[in-house]
Subunit: 405 residues, 2 copies
């Protein structure tokens, strides 16, 4: 059985994801699709709208055959580490290929880009440094340095988020999994960060979330952009757990954590450096919401996303030493769900896997899963009643992989 | 002008306190009474019902002439350190005497008790150790060891909380302020921990708080036990800040803090030792309220009060090193309020004070007031809206001493 992989967040699963999934099946000619999905917290440093379990159900309902979890140590990182972790897991679980969505499309452009940077590494790095000295954020500096490098031969626009990820997927593939075949599919219509609906059936997850949190929006609008299974799963989650997860739910905890910490305690947290801890402590005392806090801390030097990831690591109390111990390479494969095809594939594959396949948390190595367990605990605190907090936390321990169909 | 001192919490100020105040004035024949009062957090490891400012107004309304703050490093400690800090501050501010309430009354019994223990220190300590090995809590072991020591000559019952405090007041006076004259007044009717009303006009603060939090109780019942000024100040606070402070308000923060900390991080907190951190981490995951948490952690080895103080130091993130740096002796006198008599007294005294008199936080030594400032920040988070949290926190910085009359 030939497996192909996708790297996803599904926050929530929408028609754009469905398009990517259908095209992936067509292009790769694989027998099954394996999704490597972020857990409760996401690459932009945000809590997922609904739990990893609800999002696994969305994926299976749409035709993904196996869902495995991208651990916290990779899922909540800048693109390079995020890509390294996910490509490594797709290889470990036996994928022959993987397929990513991008703004520009065209695989050879990505491969040439990686090659061009590799061949000009020191000039490129120097150029990035210079742009940062001029006050640009890291991603803008990367993108500008690359524009200088490519000259008149236009390859890809490295200021676009999915292109950046694609670049790092190819880089990670070249480094750690050279036999893994890559495909890319041009994303339909909606930009990653778009807040407004532009196409009749495809919208960005950002605009869908915005709509879900807006009490004045009609439900029927959203249903044009998400499969009916996603709709049902979202409704069910809201009913079962009393609401969705968003940063504002965690603001009282983050504020308390920052306010009660000393600067040196905050400097032990992953990504906290260069005095940002002092700015955060001061801002925590005056801010009246998470958004207000972020606006007070924001400066040209840091992107919103990078600051959000810092806030997330503070919230989960993830220290530099905890993270550095774990983000070199994944040490386990956490199985979240599968259908019959997926189960058949795993039964054949299981014995040849080099990493432990974790189905039940209780039987996993406690040190391996430490960060994911802590993330699940903190994620549960974003719900509004003690009963549902406890229920969600209990699910993390007791939930076997979801089997669908 | 002759000043006498009292050590108080006024949580809230009630008729029993009024009785003590009246008797203190009579017995001491002083020109004014200075109250050394705990700030936002109290000796039993609890948040005060209302802020230090509201409680200062209650004190001044009842006839106290000066209110100074017992800093966090002393106010939230076992009886010995609590007494050491408060007696030291009363001496520093120039009191000639002090007057404490006790269950047994009779100063000579206290003095004899201190002497008896001092003269038999090693036998007494060995006996305490033995009782603790048998599984008794520290206070019970102290009280039993003393019963053995006093033999047939009955002095005071060291299992009663105000007697324990009185014992330590005398001990602290003997050690650090031998010229400070001591008086004691027998407490009227209500035991410290009594939850029910027993006397027609005097009730314990515990029973008054219980009544205040009980939505089914008639207001008129409480008014029999508190002066009308207290009543007005409580009502005003509730209206201004949206409610009273209680441990349950801080439970989500405490749960988050314990859940997200590693055992070694918790062991850095003052008073956390002997593996209690593991028990706390486990209990934080299953508990659905502060009370539930405390019941899960409680064992014969620890009194409820001691565990509550541990929980408080965790909540305020007060480390062993922060506390050990500060609890040897107070390094400043924080003035919370005064009336005209108090002002007159301070004008005369000011120049001869050895410790800095802090009227405005902004002009104080930041290292001195660090723990009190942090306590005020955390205390404000127990309110329900962001606006009133900010307001209360702002008050801590901007509020000059309250001047009444």
């Amino acid at each position: 059985m030939k497996a192909t992989g996708v790297v996803v967040e599904y926050n929530p699963f929408h028609n754009g994801h469905l398009h990517h999934l259908t095209e992936t099946k067509k292009t790769s000619e694989a027998d099954l699709v394996i999704a490597c999905m972020s857990g409760h917290f996401l690459q932009r440093g945000e809590p997922a709208l609904v739990s990893k379990w609800a999002r696994t159900k969305m994926a299976l309902a749409a035709g993904v055959d196996i869902v495995i979890e991208l651990p916290y140590a990779f899922a909540t990182q800048h693109a390079e580490t995020f890509a390294k972790g996910s490509i490594s897991l797709l290889r470990e679980i036996g994928c022959e290929s993987f397929c990513f969505g991008s703004e520009d499309g065209g695989l050879s452009a990505f491969e040439k880009t990686v090659e061009l940077i590799l061949n000009n590494r020191s000039a490129y790095n120097a150029s990035v440094k210079n742009y940062m000295k001029e006050g640009l954020s890291y991603p803008s500096a990367l993108s500008n340095a690359f524009k200088d490098l490519e000259g008149s031969e236009k390859l890809i626009d490295l200021s676009k988020p999915n292109n950046i990820l694609g670049f790092h997927y190819i880089e990670a593939r070249n480094n750690a999994a050279p036999d893994l075949k890559a495909f890319t599919i041009t994303r339909e219509s909606a930009g990653y960060h778009d807040e407004h609906f532009a196409s009749p059936s495809i919208a960005s997850a950002t605009s869908i979330r915005k709509n879900l949190f807006d009490p004045e929006q009609e439900e029927s609008v959203i249903n044009r952009y998400i499969p009916s299974a996603t709709h049902g799963i979202l409704e069910h989650y809201k009913k079962e757990f009393g609401g969705y997860h968003r940063w504002e739910n965690y603001w009282p905890l983050l504020q308390y954590k920052i306010m009660s910490s000393s600067p040196s305690q905050l400097r032990e947290i992953y990504e906290i450096e260069e005095g940002i801890e002092n700015r955060m402590i001061e801002s925590s005392k005056s801010a009246i919401s998470f958004e207000d806090f972020m606006k007070r801390v924001k400066s040209k030097r840091y992107t919103w996303t990078r600051l959000q990831r810092m806030a997330l690591h503070i919230l989960t109390n993830t220290t530099k030493s905890e993270m550095n111990e774990r983000h070199a390479a994944p040490s386990y494969i956490r199985l979240l769900g599968m259908n019959k095809t997926g189960q058949q594939y795993l039964n054949k594959m299981k014995k040849s896997l080099e990493l432990p396949l974790v189905s039940k948390l209780s039987s996993a190595d406690k040190n391996d899963i430490h960060l994911d367990m802590k993330a699940a605990e903190i994620y549960s605190l974003g719900l509004s009643s003690n009963e549902v907090k406890k229920k969600l936390l209990h699910q993390e321990w007791s939930q076997p992989p979801i089997l669908m169909g």
